[in-house]
Symmetry: C3
Subunit: 433 residues, 3 copies
């Protein structure tokens, strides 16, 4: 693949500006401020009730919205900075994709629920737009380091659209409840990303890549992401719950699930690692699996100890996944999952779906039968997305430049005749020469 093909000078600006201009035009046609009067149905099955109750103060949900916002932009953004030379892309492209995804998500979700022909923007709708954004960022984790900004914008456009359709079908057609969205966000985002990663399989990276790893300080930057995700996950799982007792229950369940998950993730990390040492990959990710897994039943009366059991199991499953399953997926199935989203969002998301449905078996069997059809369709659409992304003119990085900011970013140069903190730039730039 010749070097010039990764030059973003025309492709990227044209695509980004075109998408934004189209979005602005669609906003001019469809989007208005929320006036507090609601004739239609909300994006979720409990939306209408919720919005009615908060009519008097339209900013009641604002603090929770900001918590979710921090998860999206700081949480996901910094969690992915663990790679030694991919921090600019991780936090920078996270910002780019999320900024586009939340606009596009608001449109796609809103078009199903037009009110007098318009999408009326409320804090509630902004939270839902952030949720749709989360799916893209989860999938981004699976392909991190192996895709160009152009490819990622295309993935965002398609994934948000597919998510919007899927969410509508699950909520409105299947009448399934998934307040914390274990399935419709986490499992969806993970398997979407894995399908795309499968399509973008790179045999040359089978034996790893020198830049596919962390350095000391990049692991600390990643912990900023981990801890903000961990702290604000109760807001993620409760933001759109019914106000009052249900919302408190969702906060409480998530809080304790996460706390129990930390203990089991640390324990298992030490158990499976060399000399009983803790592994930063596990700590950065598996400690969050409790938040994913408790999502679907966050507002159900499972008892605080029930939530803790879910979190406890999720921490174990997730850590074992990182240790044993990720290498198998890469070597046997050709799925190179950079951030291990299968372990943080995939398996815990399914665990959450199972836990959530175990309260209601008959309905569940019915759901699974119909859901399965949906799921197969989603995977097909994910694979198509990957196929489109694989087209050779989107500026995908060559194998040797994967996991390296310097192919799409100006990276500070090492100073002449002096070792600076940026040393290592030589190797960063070598592949461009």
């Amino acid at each position: 693949m010749p070097a010039y093909s990764t030059n973003m000078r025309l492709k990227f600006p044209i695509l980004a500006l075109t998408l934004e201009i189209i979005t602005i035009i669609l906003f001019a046609v469809f989007v208005v401020y929320d006036d507090g009067k609601h004739g239609g149905h909300g994006a979720h099955n409990n939306a209408t009730h919720h919005e009615e109750k908060t009519e008097q103060n339209p900013l009641t949900l604002y603090p929770m919205f900001q918590d979710v916002h921090v998860m999206i932009f700081i949480g996901f953004g910094f969690l992915m900075t663990f790679l030694k030379r991919y921090g600019f892309s991780s936090v920078g492209l996270n910002l780019l994709l999320a900024a586009f995804a939340l606009q596009w998500g608001l449109l796609v979700q809103g078009l199903w629920h037009l009110d007098e022909g318009k999408i009326k923007v409320s804090i509630f709708k902004m939270i839902n737009a952030d949720f749709s954004t989360a799916t893209v960022l989860i999938s981004f984790g699976a392909v991190l380091g192996k895709t160009s900004p152009v490819q990622l914008l295309i993935m965002t456009l398609l994934e948000i659209t597919i998510f919007g359709i899927n969410e509508h079908l699950v909520a409105e057609v299947l009448k399934a409840n998934d307040v914390g969205a274990s399935m419709i966000i986490h499992a969806f985002g993970a398997y979407f990303g894995l399908a795309v990663a499968r399509m973008l399989y790179r045999p040359a990276l089978r034996n790893g890549h020198e830049n596919d790893g962390s350095v000391y300080h990049s692991d600390l930057f990643a912990m900023i992401g981990t801890v903000f995700l961990w702290m604000f996950w109760p807001s993620f799982n409760s933001a759109i719950a019914e106000p009052g007792a249900d919302q408190l229950m969702a906060v409480t369940n998530t809080y304790f699930s996460l706390a129990a998950c930390v203990l089991s993730a640390y324990a298992v990390s030490s158990l499976v690692e060399h000399k009983g040492k803790l592994d930063m990959v596990h700590i950065q990710n598996a400690t969050l699996a409790g938040g994913v897994a408790v999502g679907t039943c966050a507002d159900m009366d499972i008892g605080p100890f029930g939530a803790m059991i879910i979190g406890f199991v999720a921490g174990i499953v997730s850590t074992l996944g990182f240790k044993f399953l990720t290498p198998i997926l890469a070597s046997n199935l050709g799925i190179q999952d950079t951030c291990g989203v299968h372990n943080l969002h995939g398996m815990p998301g399914i665990l959450g779906g199972i836990a959530g449905s175990s309260n209601n078996t008959v309905h569940t069997v019915h759901l699974y039968k119909r859901g399965n059809v949906l799921n197969n369709t989603v995977i097909d659409l994910s694979l198509c997305t990957g196929l489109i992304m694989k087209l050779p003119f989107w500026g995908q990085p060559p194998d040797q430049n994967c996991f390296d900011d310097s192919i799409y970013w100006e990276v500070p140069e090492e100073e002449e005749g002096e070792e600076s903190l940026a040393h290592g730039d030589h190797s960063m730039n070598k592949a461009e020469a």
Copy 2:
């Protein structure tokens, strides 16, 4: 300039302690707790209404206040850590200046609106004090790396005082509305800082300085600041808006303006840079211009798409400013704007003022005529501030020690015979020898 002059041992403690003791005495005379009863006028034209409505729970605005607080202390503080050897000063002096500025700002703003001879501290007043602090931190960005802590405390004292007078005149005399404060905070802070930077012009830095740049990890620290500013800007622009629909409108407009701004800033950054690569300076700053530019009309009914157009244009203007205007300001006008505050706060602030006034043309012409007189006075006062700061006994750093923490901070030493992460200390300390 002899080396001893930068020794802060007496000057700095005496100034800091004196300022704080005077402040405490003034607080003892003037400042009391808010008792919920308001006889006077608030700091802003809509303050009275606002405070009346929130009388029942004095902490209604507290979450928004904390968002603004995070912008001031984390946002501005870390945004400026992009310099390779000036992180201690960036985040540390940011904390020092802000801690003094918020006390002094509360006094200066409060003295115009005494209630029974007292300043009654409410969350609303704390938010306004944070706003006045923002002006100082914007100006700090213009002179970053070229000033001593003593000079900066003097600038803080004078700028906050001048800001307090200017804000009062704009709000009370001109009756101008500037809820998100594009003009009275952002443009004010930027042009104040540029005027000071002009007075402190250093010909020896005409061709740059080896420390006036970033390293890989310093750019990541700066992104912490960027992302927190980006996320919480809706709170900045809506915190003092009329509660209810107006406040929601301010949140919505800022949110979409920022989202659109990200796409245009990224696109233009790639368009103007070498090989279509993204430039961290643009990403760190120009993505925020949408928040500045939408400020004045944040609570006006411009429609979400109107806000997006403002943000879209601001992202383009700001990025082009960094690329083309900053070098011209430095070489032709002798304005060395370290952080490019002209591009983030100056031009977008004026853009916001124009956008905000375009709804009301007759009133605007009137305002501009009278405002112009004010603006000239403000620039004169800014230049005087710079002149005072230029006096030779405030411990200004010599040219070769600019952008270097080690002149005012104890910086960790490199370990003997071992390369540590602090390597480069040799060069940090060489100018002191």
Copy 3:
């Protein structure tokens, strides 16, 4: 001490899993969701009133809870990352200990106040659980770098239990008011930690340790902790205050105490340091002493200027403590206080207790007499905790591996034949060989 003893492979997982399973069982027996009906007494003397008032919306305190949560997990966690090679442990073990402590704290505090035989989890109780967690993290600071994860889990278990008893006695038996908890959290945590540090005294570290210091970027990571603690301390001191005027007073007092503290801490740091330079250790810690010291009287009518005087004095005392007292404690009393918690939490906590009690002298003398008995008992229990932790089979690190992540964590390896940001790993791993 042979190397294998620090292998955590069995001890740590067994202890962590056992503790979590016991906790889950106790939760199954005792803990239920809050149903909004309260028959018993709250954890604090003003709890009952408070909970009654917020019955209608159980999430009123949620934003303040999240502020406190950020202090616990980001604030304490990153504040301790200042050590050059102990960042994984600082933020990682902080997460582990806090996740366990908040569960255990909720149980221990709740068992004193059973309601129909159950602990009903509310946001209020979660805040109190976070408070109990703070004591452990303060003590963690005193022994940072010199303890194994197993030792720290044992300390957490015992300290939370002792804290729960002490808090109950102070609040219910002595009827002392300590809303911001200068004494019962900060001084308690500090002196508990110092007593444990005394028991774990290491003569070989008398002359320091090569890893017991910072590097440039580790000091910046620590500032993330400092600034988040500084910003959200008003929430810490006001979260459980009586809603309304008292809560606003607690916010106001803490806000101004912290602001004044910054000025005095910076001034004294420059005054006592070499060539008048600022010292990062002082800035990271002493700027927060105002929040500790104003705690006890945060909701008292001391006037904003009164709060500022307390903060001003606390900043001076704390900085002088770091400069002059910490070395004496280490050399003369055998107390090696890694983070200087005596200066940030110990002395300012006592200062706060004195300030708080000076309004009520007769009651105070009575309290001190009885409190003194309690305090002696607490110190004895702390020493016992240290003695238990000193048992030789908990995997305590050998002297040469203190302050070094690589003994309990997988640390990224330096790349072959290339200097990376992780260089220095050689020395990190040498003690294991």
